[in-house]
């Protein structure tokens, strides 16, 4: 069996591991080491050497992000570690899977990150729809506090780390890290200008590190087994394992920890059991809604950060959305555009006005009310939205739409020629 960093001790039925179960397999020993034996500089170096890259979608090296955190300068106020548990990327359910089964893994990961970044206060920013996670994390936080792992003597040290759970009231943009900071402060989740970056001016104006759930979950294993072990888990240039998953009409849609760098073919046709009876693979968004489509010719690309980047693509969250031949591609893009149009925070004009326009153009082509020139207008609009906004949201929205327009150009031509969707009567 392949070596695992995240799910080695997980119950097969996904029920949560208690504190007793977690500590029986060495749990919290690495938090103790991080707070009592290793210096922050040693921790940052260790995680840098492991090659861990952020698992929220951007793939930024975690050790490097931490190294940008300024050292404590004695100024009053907290230093924050914030876990991004908003997980609202369409098709993505990996963080829920991980923490529902092992809530203490996230808490220990946060303790390690907090020791490295010298944070005294943490927040778990959890999407409000994840009620089961909320219940399990609330219980685990109480257990960890009672056992003394978090609180006044973090990891058994003489320094504090207090950890709070914040429930989001729902909006996709809260997953953007500066939008998240505004939401945490009780404001509208409009993104902030960068620079200054959150490590310099973050929550309530204080230094703040924002890390994804899966990223943090890797830390206990990296400390326990060492950075070289972790590096070796990846199949290609990128280190570690990844929580991969799929949705759509595959036989066994689920989430699984696999070596970073498996191919889309292995994910869909081996791990997920292939396509459902009578359905053919057409394309996939490899990592949530905001990635570019891979067609059949992309099935053998390694799903890692470097390989996809070199091909002008991105891994995103690693949870593939698989498109089958029973779906109209134009209607699919219309559905994706509807999501982005509704979830735009409204701050920047190209995103707020452009995305509903794009949605309307796609609807027109699908429903047979398009006018001559609409396809060209659609292409033009997509080119104008992405680069002219404050945050990466709009650029993310354009990825599946622009690449879908290319990949499915024959379907678009057919719709326009017939003046309707060929699948509708």
């Amino acid at each position: 069996m392949a070596e695992l960093a995240l799910t080695r001790h997980r119950h097969p039925d996904g029920t949560p591991r208690s504190l007793a179960e977690y500590t029986r397999t060495g749990g919290y020993l690495q938090a103790r080491r991080a707070w009592q034996q290793l210096t922050p500089a040693e921790l940052v170096q260790l995680v840098s050497r492991s090659g861990l890259r952020g698992r929220g979608g951007a793939g930024f090296p975690t050790g490097k992000k931490w190294s940008f955190m300024p050292p404590p300068d004695g100024s009053p106020g907290h230093r924050y570690l914030i876990c991004n548990f908003d997980e609202m990327e369409p098709g993505t359910y990996k963080d829920r899977f991980l923490v529902e089964g092992d809530p203490h893994l996230l808490i220990e990961g946060m303790l390690i990150a907090a020791a490295a970044c010298q944070c005294d206060t943490g927040y778990i920013f959890l999407r409000g729809e994840y009620g089961v996670v909320r219940e399990r994390l609330t219980r685990a936080l109480a257990e960890a506090e009672q056992a003394g792992w978090i609180g006044a003597h973090a990891g058994g040290s003489d320094r504090p780390f207090r950890l709070h759970l914040h429930l989001s009231a729902g909006r996709y943009i809260c997953g953007e890290e500066t939008g998240l900071l505004n939401a945490l402060e009780g404001r509208r989740a409009n993104p902030r200008a960068k620079p200054p970056f959150p490590v310099q001016v973050g929550a309530w104006g204080r230094p703040s590190v924002v890390n994804n759930v899966e990223t943090l979950g890797n830390l206990p294993a990296i400390l326990r087994e060492g950075p070289d072990w972790y590096r070796g888990l990846g199949r290609g240039a990128d280190a570690g394992t990844k929580l991969y998953a799929a949705s759509g009409r595959v036989r066994r849609p689920h989430c699984a920890e696999l070596p970073l760098g498996i191919t889309l073919r292995e994910l869909v046709f081996e791990e997920m059991g292939g396509m459902q009876e009578g359905r053919r693979f057409v394309a996939a968004l490899p990592g949530g809604g905001s990635t570019r489509f891979l067609g059949e010719d992309g099935l053998d690309l390694p799903l890692d950060f470097g390989s996809l980047q070199a091909a002008g693509l991105s891994l995103g969250t690693g949870t593939a959305i698989v498109v089958d031949d029973g779906v109209c591609p134009v209607d699919l893009l219309r559905n994706l555009a509807q999501f982005y149009a509704r979830e735009s925070c409204g701050w920047c004009t190209p995103c707020r006005e452009g995305l509903p326009w794009v949605e309307g153009l796609l609807r027109g082509i699908e429903e047979g009310t398009a006018r001559p020139g609409d396809l060209e207008l659609l292409e033009e609009q997509l080119g104008l939205i992405g680069p002219n906004t404050f945050c990466a949201f709009a650029l993310g929205a354009v990825q599946p739409l622009a690449s879908g327009l290319q990949l499915f150009h024959q379907d678009f031509a057919e719709h326009l020629r017939l003046g309707r969707c060929p699948r509708r009567r």
Partner: protein
């Protein structure tokens, strides 16, 4: 007027907020849990507690999709219309529910039993298509399953928590 209990719970939450206004979203969620929705009076009372103007608090309340500024039914049915559910017929199930309940998404049935809302991806795409009944996720939906679920919910007097027992869940 905020009740003594509401005041107490809000004050307890303030303990780990650097300033009062940081409690805006938590406060809205807390009051909505007890009152069902955020009426104009509720908004004014909370704004006063937080030292904010009502109009500023309203700009926050209306931004977040899980804050209700209109009354909702006993059960809120939030049906996912994002891409993974779409691939398995999620949008068709939303239309089916509109016809079955005789309301459009965004409305409440005249008997006050159900509010129907579209929602973004619920993060349970391995069980698509999904909906959230109050806080309880129900996956692997079909028209038959929805029909049985509606009958069962009609006899459930309280909002469902995340781990509520359901025969047809």
């Amino acid at each position: 007027m905020l009740s003594d209990q509401e005041q107490g719970e809000l004050t307890a939450l303030l303990a780990h907020c650097p300033d009062r206004r940081s409690l805006a979203i938590d406060g809205l969620v807390l009051l909505q849990r007890g009152r069902g929705w955020i009426a104009d009076d509720t908004l004014r009372e909370l704004a006063a507690f937080l030292d904010m103007t009502p109009v500023e608090l309203d700009s926050i309340a209306t931004f977040y999709s899980r804050i209700y500024r209109r009354p909702v039914g006993r059960h809120v049915l939030a049906v996912c219309d994002s891409v993974s559910c779409f691939l398995l017929g999620g949008e068709r199930l939303l239309s089916w529910l509109e016809r079955r309940l005789g309301i459009r998404a965004g409305q409440t049935t005249p008997d006050g039993l159900f509010t129907l809302l579209p929602t973004v991806c619920l993060g349970a795409c391995d069980r698509a298509p999904n909906l959230l009944v109050d806080e309880r996720l129900v996956g692997d939906l079909s028209e038959d399953k929805l029909e049985r679920l509606l009958t069962e919910l009609a006899d459930q007097p309280d909002r469902l928590g995340p781990e509520a027992e359901l025969v047809h869940g």
